[in-house]
Amino acid sequence: MVKLFRPHPLVVLIPLLIAQLAILSLQVRNSEGTTLLRRATLLAISPFLLAANTGENFVGSVWNEYVSLREIRNENESLKEKIQAMNLESNRVLSSLRQAGQWQALLELRGQLSFQTKTARIIGRSPSFLSFTLMVDRGSEDGVRKDDPVINAEGVVGRVISVFPRTAEVHVILDSDAAAGSLLSRTHLQGVISGTGTSFLKLNYVLNQEDVQVGDKVVTSGLDNVFPKDLTVGRVVRVRQGESVFKEIDVLPVVDFTRLETVLVVVNLRPRS
């Protein structure tokens, strides 16, 4: 006996119900004139449409953000380059101004000084913190000799320790081996100023009982036969009673060694003709 194929009732029921709804939808229109079938179809696919739209928006948004970020990054790099160029230009201008200022001050000082000097440009600095030396663009061909004092408009810079035909090496007063005969301009007390290897100087050989005050100006005494008399060295910033007979006096140099670019080399202490 042949058994006829009999589908599950739901297989018949569901298509029948859908067919009835389809028939119904073909006739029924809502107030906007849309049929139920279209409404149902739209209702069914709208989540997918929404998801697709959201996805598209998301991808679009990410892409736009990416493009924007790239543009911003390029712009940022371009701006950075411009800023660097402007900084360089600004530094160059400031440097020129500062140099011009220093040159002007030196020329003024030169006019006031009674001895012969040569203006020199600093062309190198010692890379080590242990030795404070400078290289200047004046040498023996310019009349520079060993032990010539080096000054600027503010005061004492150092002395020449090595001379080459076109250059010279200057021992800065800050170096722990550097020293100069000095005196306190207020009291005319004499001493020896020496470097400490730091940014401060030390005034030695001033007796404990002497009157030294913070702010006192220290100038060269001219007794060392190196530096001319009355060149400013610095100002007293700290005074202590020493354990020996001498005071411990800290002096802050007037010369700003970090910004030093031009100096005067005193080539002859004799008065100019």
């Binding site: 009999r6 589908p7 009732p9 018949v12 029921l13 029948l16 119900l17 067919a19 009835q20 709804l21 389809a22 028939i23 119904l24 939808s25 073909l26 006739q27 029924v28 809502n30 107030s31 139920l36 409404r39």
Partner: protein
């Protein structure tokens, strides 16, 4: 063949008696005779035949009642399936059980039609909403009685 004719005759009688009775006596619209026929076929036929017959009866009912085609079609298709499923599990020899089934299916019919009205966005006249619920309640006792009568007729015929 006889069974097919029986289905056709009962269907036509149910649908057109509803039409004619309502034409002469307005309040007969409160009696859903096609629903009784659908439930009756469901009590002794399989689920597939029942939902197909229900669907056809519903479509005919829609075509003559002025309702959107498919409204009763959808409802009666589902009711045919439900009545056939219920008859497989329930003992419908007892009048009380038959009455209960009839009530549940009538209310289901009314509910489906109201839902379809809402779903299609059509405005439901309050009168119709009340009437369809009343129809469910009023169709139950005569429906159950008619089914008992039809069942007895079948047995007598056999």
């Amino acid at each position: 063949m006889i069974e097919f004719l029986k289905v056709v005759v009962i269907t036509l009688v149910a649908v057109f008696s509803q039409l004619l009775l309502t034409k002469h006596l307005e309040y007969f619209y409160l009696l859903d005779i096609p629903l009784i026929a659908v439930v009756y076929f469901g009590t002794y036929k399989g689920r597939i035949e029942s939902c197909v017959i229900g669907g056809v009866i519903g479509l005919i009912q829609d075509s003559i009642s002025g309702l959107p085609l498919g409204m009763n079609g959808f409802s009666k298709t589902l009711l045919g399936y439900m009545s056939a499923s219920a008859s497989r599990r329930l003992v419908l020899e007892r009048f009380g059980m038959l009455l209960g089934l009839m009530l549940v299916l009538s209310l289901t019919d009314s509910t489906i039609k109201l839902v379809l009205f809402l779903g299609t966005g059509l405005t439901i006249p309050t009168r119709y909403a009340m009437a369809t619920l009343l129809q469910a309640l009023l169709s139950t006792p005569p429906g159950a009685a008619a089914m008992v009568g039809l069942t007895k007729l079948d047995r007598w015929r056999e």
